[in-house]
Amino acid sequence: MDYSTLIFKAIFLIIILLVTLVVAMYSTYAERKVAAFMQDRNGPNRAGPFGLLQPLADGLKMFMKEEIIPLTANKYLFILGPSIAMTTALLTGVVIPWGDTLTIGDHVYSLQMADLNIGILYVFAMVSIGVYGIMIGGWASNNKYALLGAIRAASQMISYELAMGMSIIALVLTTGSLSLHDIVSQQHGMHWNIFYQPLGFFIFLTCAFAETNRAPFDLPECETELIGGYHTEYSSMKLGFYLFAEYVNMFISSAVIATLYFGGYNMPFIDQLGLSSNAVTFIGMGFFFIKIFAFIFLFMWIRWTLPRFRYDQLMNMGWKGLIPLAIFNILATGTYYFFTSLK
């Protein structure tokens, strides 16, 4: 790897980090606006035009709040919890292909930080570590509500990660690769995986809601029963980190869904336009972000439509509904490929 690639990667890394943070920041704004619009209200509209400075005001408020560490809490783990939640949320963005290749001079740069050949497994690993942030935070708080929230988060993650993994196995059967770059480039044209794996997409989407702790699966937080769940004892920016990590997770999982099932940066009829490869890359990148925003909107839309599931309903749906469905999906996909490859 020569220096120009290294510099490009460094700049690109910072850009991706900033974009992730800004998108997550404005997701909070969008969430409040979407919620308001669905309830026939206006939403935040005082800070700046259309309330656009509201996220900054919220952030400032978080920073100004008093930092409280309960006397009975385990101090190191108490600080470690939100750090893990935030770090793992941001780490996933590394393997997502944000665009095709960019040609500057003689060099061709890939708009993907790291093209791991086990990209999907890396995403899974990061998502799984993410639950440690919640668990450690909940346990270190030394508060029964926080612990209940942490336990709920853990069992919910385990239950839904199974179904999610199985829906991915079926996807891997169709793509034949674990690298996200390969998966995206295979979907060129209109060969999006959603058309080959509709059931798998549905399972993956449902599990993504559960993995990000979003409504209707927001049982670990559960304001009404657990007064905030795992972040009951948190204040100031540590609370901010937890809340922010949720939005980062939402952004990243939208990106993963768009990558795996909706063709990533591919868009229809791009070959027919006859543009230069750089222009195609930028348009594709824009299209990728449109897909991501559409999924973020879907996340919010569902949140402000559905009430929270009861815990037994959650477990029933995970173990008796989604997992058998995912196994069926694997069998059906496997059978199809077995018989088509015989000929």
Partner: protein
């Protein structure tokens, strides 16, 4: 009993059907409802910029009227205080001295006239009871305060200044006039 809306559903604990158990149709239905609300007109009134239109006969802060020559109409008869169900009104009467004819219309006047705005329920009975058309409720809103004391409004706030007269024509229609003059009602005899 007659139902208020036709949307009420009888609850039952019957077994859910297959369509209900897979949740998806119900979820899609709910999402279609929320998305229509997404594009609906907002019901919010952005308060400081926009104000809700008041009724023409809105009952807000009281005014003690003067007549066209600037003399106070109130004669401290005390009928408003008697009519007040919240006992918010108190007054102290005084005799008009010679040379004060330009200040008070009749020989007796209210030296102190106080309404406790925390007690007042804005029913408008004082206005109905007044035989001199001296007290009226207006469309002004009683301002908020930090302490209880300032809510006891004295004559300095209640009596209208001549250069800033308060329009009460919407409340004093000819129908009201006839009602007050009609001797068939006990209160006018």
């Amino acid at each position: 009993m007659e139902k208020l809306t036709n949307r009420s559903v009888v609850a039952s604990d019957k077994k859910m059907t297959f369509m209900e158990r897979i949740y998806v149709p119900a979820i899609l239905k709910g999402m279609s409802i929320t998305i229509t609300h997404f594009f609906k007109k907002k019901t919010t009134i952005n308060y400081p910029e926009e104000k809700r239109e008041f009724s023409k006969v809105y009952r807000g802060q009281h005014v003690l009227k003067r007549d066209d020559e600037g003399r106070e109409r109130c004669t401290a008869c005390g009928l408003c205080a008697v009519a007040c169900p919240a006992e918010a009104i108190t007054m102290v009467a005084a005799e008009r001295k010679p040379g004060e004819e330009h200040l008070y219309r009749e020989e007796k006047y209210a030296a102190i006239y106080e309404i406790n705005m925390l007690r007042c329920i804005f029913c408008g009975d004082c206005e109905d009871a007044c035989p001199k058309e001296a007290i009226f409720l207006t469309d002004r809103i009683v301002a908020s305060e930090y302490k209880r004391k300032p809510f006891v409004y004295g004559k300095d706030i209640l009596v209208e200044p001549m250069d800033l007269r308060v329009d009460i024509s919407a409340r004093q229609t000819s129908a009201v006039h006839d009602f007050k003059k009609n001797k068939a009602f006990a209160h006018n005899r």
